[in-house]
């Protein structure tokens, strides 16, 4: 009799100990991996994201609730084969709980592929903007606290048509998928809100001499109202320089820019040539919000230069991770809970330098889009916002018909068509006649 009680007592003690062990915090170290190009020509796209992450981590002393955070960083060298290898090694060798990155477009497309094959690893995308990563190819574990190429430019098209009054615009850009996406978004916004024609001129990604293109533009000046420079990096510098050299500023108004044109790092190189340039993005450096001002100052203190939108991505990604960790009490080893928590994170205007945002069901943010203009304040150049559109998702004005948008043909270098009649014929096919009739009735989107 007594023996049976002793046995039960022992069993109870055993179970209790087991239970106690189980509820003890099993995470002794939080490991985060960053992946992106940190050497070679694409260095700034990876390094700046990394700097943003490090700033955010440093602000919290590299720990969360007493658990130390270890940051692993891997260089992709802008090569997707290397990236795939590094993703695998972050996962199996370093055993990270979260991956932040990558940065480039083609890296992103490959990363979402990897994410689908490794569904238990949460990935917070860094700077990569191809829309399919959070649309047609979206996976549950890949969340992008960033943007898509079209998301930030739909309303710019509208702004140019409605507020700037342009009817015909030329887009000159680098011939690869990201500028295609930007052009497509612009075309939709422009043609659906009063614009008549968008002409797309593409040049090789590494083009250095724009003289033949600029000569063409000069010839087109009597028919077209403005030119949009749809490139990034060195090509922007070259284009602007030669624009003024060839006297294009005398026949066209200020250059319009895609997302990567008037970013902070570019402004110092472009100098006064950038004055008056309009563009649109989900972040502007002149944002007077406390979150942004503090971010900029801390960044300058830490790295000796002002941050650009690339760094914002790293910074915001780290903060999203922190918020998710708070929601699950630091149990990052439960990847399913971690991923679900990440998807539920919302950031207010006081918490992120870009403004408020939350994630839509595909894992992309719904956020403010700012139409910005480059001005000179206190002797240096910066972007200010001339108009703000709130709660814009990656589907832009098509948020209520997301499936229809995704069913539309994929963006290419010439799709959607840049001519108003051809364009309307196309969208009637997948957006429907009602949509087109509403557009005509309201003369565009309703604000």
């Amino acid at each position: 009799m007594i023996r049976r009680r002793v046995v039960w007592l022992l069993v109870a003690v055993f179970l209790f100990t087991l239970g106690a062990l189980g509820t003890a915090n099993a995470v002794s170290e939080i490991r985060i991996g960053h992946i992106g190009p940190t050497t070679g020509w694409a260095t700034i796209f990876g390094q700046n994201v990394l700097d943003g992450i490090k700033l955010a981590l440093a602000e919290r002393n590299y720990e969360f609730n007493g658990i130390p955070i270890k940051l692993f960083t891997e260089d992709t060298k802008a090569d997707v084969e290397v990236m795939r290898t590094k993703l695998d090694s972050l996962r199996s060798r370093d055993k990270v709980h979260l991956i932040i990155g990558p940065s480039l477009g083609h890296e992103g497309v490959a990363a979402v592929d990897w994410a689908a094959r490794n569904p238990d690893m949460p990935i917070l995308v860094g700077y990569s903007a191809p829309e399919d990563m959070t649309m047609r190819k979206a996976t549950h574990n890949l969340v992008r606290p960033g943007w898509t190429g079209a998301q930030v430019i739909f309303h710019f098209g509208k702004y140019c048509a409605k507020e700037l009054g342009y009817k015909k615009v030329i887009i000159v850009g680098q011939d690869y998928s990201y500028p295609w996406d930007q052009a497509a978004g612009f075309v939709r916004g422009f043609l659906e809100n009063g614009g008549e024609k968008v002409e797309r001129i593409w040049h090789p990604v590494e083009a250095v001499d724009f003289s033949s293109i600029l000569a063409r533009l000069t010839g087109m000046a009597k028919d077209y109202d403005a030119v949009l420079n749809n490139s990034g990096g060195a090509q922007v510098v070259g284009f602007f320089k030669q624009w003024y050299q060839f006297g294009l500023d005398k026949v066209y108004p200020q250059i319009l820019g895609q997302a990567n044109v008037p970013i902070v790092s570019m402004l110092s190189e472009l100098g006064d040539q950038a004055l008056g340039v309009y563009s649109s993005l989900h972040y502007y450096d002149g944002n007077p919000s406390e979150a942004n001002v503090k971010f900029r100052e801390n960044y300058k203190k830490a790295y000796g230069r002002y941050p650009d939108v690339i760094s914002v991505q790293g910074y915001d990604a780290a903060h999203v991770a922190f918020k998710a960790m708070e929601a699950i009490n630091g149990r990052v080893d439960d990847s399913k809970a971690f991923i679900d928590a990440i998807r539920k994170v919302t950031m207010s205007a006081d918490e992120s330098p870009r403004g408020p945002f939350y994630f839509d069901k595909y894992g992309n943010p719904v956020q403010n889009i700012y139409i910005k203009k480059v001005v000179k304040k206190d002797g240096h150049l910066m972007n200010i916002a001339v108009k703000t559109y709130e709660n814009v998702s990656q589907f832009g004005p098509y948020a209520h018909m997301a499936e229809k948008y995704m069913a539309a043909p994929a963006t290419t270098r010439s799709y959607p068509p840049g001519d108003k009649d051809a364009y309307f014929k196309e969208i009637e096919k997948y957006f429907g006649r009602d949509y087109v009739e509403n557009l005509n009735k309201n003369k565009g989107w309703i604000d």
């Binding site: 960083t73 891997e74 997707v80 090694s89």
Partner: protein, 354 residues
């Protein structure tokens, strides 16, 4: 003709040992190690296609990655865009690469030495330009993704790294066998004859241009096989795999490992790819380090690592062989090693060209 594949007993033992190690790798090592082995294998095939031409013919080609990529792109397009089932895409891809080599070969066999290097550089760039700019077909710099590795005999090589490893190992062994047979065959002998003295071979009545052409096509075949596995394992292909950078890295791997066809290529590739992953975790000055290492190898260990090992192999191995009781008369102690004869023949050619 007597079969040239009768190996000595020592060599068989070595072969069995190597095979054994290769087979148990997935069992005893980590996932990460298996992945690295897979990577090294497909890149090694690319390197081997270069060392075939460089070691046997004395011609340095900077376009082998083009064939690597052509095969990869065909696999990508046929599989993702047209849904053709395995094994059609890889077979078509390899065939396409071989046909391309047949085409380029006509141009390439007309020149030698530094001109060969330059021509292959430019031709490689030509193929790269197509891949990068013909976006309607190749999707340009974004590349093609979602290439899933095949299901063979019901086993998915996509989900099981071990299965993929063995799938590739079999192909790799096949390629290695093919190359070794080539090297030891009369064909290989003729190639080396061309390398040592082309004028002599011409005088002796050998169809030198035809031999070079065939070797070029064979090399492309090897690279193409590598390209297929690259596409399957990484799941994507983009112009970078065909770029000048990739070709230069392949050359680096060949120089590092030594011009010896098999061992040099594998060792050089192994070192390069491992350093790739290990170094860039430690320092950002990866390229600087590689450049310096390359310089040092060229200046001081011109025969590459394998070559240097071979130089001292005899002095190392004689006591060991003695101990095992195998003292073979055909030890290469007296004759020149492959690397040395490669070097010599090149120097001689230089003198004649100038």
């Amino acid at each position: 003709m007597r079969r040239t594949l009768v190996f000595g007993f020592r060599k068989i033992l070595l072969l069995v040992l190597v095979a054994g190690v290769l087979i148990i790798i997935p069992r005893v090592t980590s996932d990460y190690f298996v992945m690295m082995s897979i990577r090294i294998m497909y890149f090694a095939m690319l390197t081997m296609s270069l060392t075939l031409l460089a070691g046997e013919l004395g011609l340095i080609s900077l376009m082998q990655a083009a064939f690597f990529g052509i095969a990869g792109y065909f696999v990508a397009i046929l599989q993702t865009r047209y849904g053709l089932p395995f094994p059609i895409p890889p077979l078509v891809g390899i065939t396409a690469a071989v046909l391309a080599a047949g085409l380029f070969g006509l141009l390439v066999i007309r020149v030698r030495g530094i001109y060969f290097l330059m021509l292959t550089l430019v031709l490689g760039q030509l193929v790269w330009a197509l891949a990068s700019q013909w976006a309607s077909v190749t999707r340009g710099d974004s590349g093609i993704t979602e290439i899933y590795a095949p299901v063979i005999f019901g086993i998915s090589t996509e989900t099981s790294k071990t299965a993929f490893y063995f799938f590739q190992l079999i192909a790799f062994a096949g390629v290695a066998y093919f190359l070794t047979a080539l090297k030891r065959s009369p064909f290989g002998l003729m190639l080396r004859g061309i390398r040592d003295s082309e004028s002599r071979m011409v005088m002796l009545g050998y169809p030198v241009s035809l031999l070079c052409y065939i070797a070029f096509v064979f090399a492309a075949l090897v690279a193409a096989v590598g390209g297929v596995f690259f596409a399957y394992f990484t799941g994507l292909i983009n112009p970078h795999s065909i770029s000048l950078t990739t070709n230069v890295e392949t050359l680096l791997a060949a120089i590092l490992g030594g011009i010896n066809l098999l061992a040099g290529a594998v060792l050089g590739t192994g070192i390069l790819k491992t350093l790739d992953v290990v170094l860039s975790g430690v320092t950002k000055r990866y390229m600087l380090f590689m450049g310096i290492m390359f310089l040092l190898v060229i200046m001081f260990a011109r025969q590459g690592i394998v070559g240097t090992i071979r130089k001292y192999w005899s002095s190392l191995m004689i006591p060991v062989a003695d101990w095992f009781g195998f003292r073979r008369d055909a030890m290469p102690a007296a004759s020149l090693s492959e690397e040395e004869s490669f070097d010599q023949s090149r120097k001689k050619k230089e003198e004649h060209d100038d």
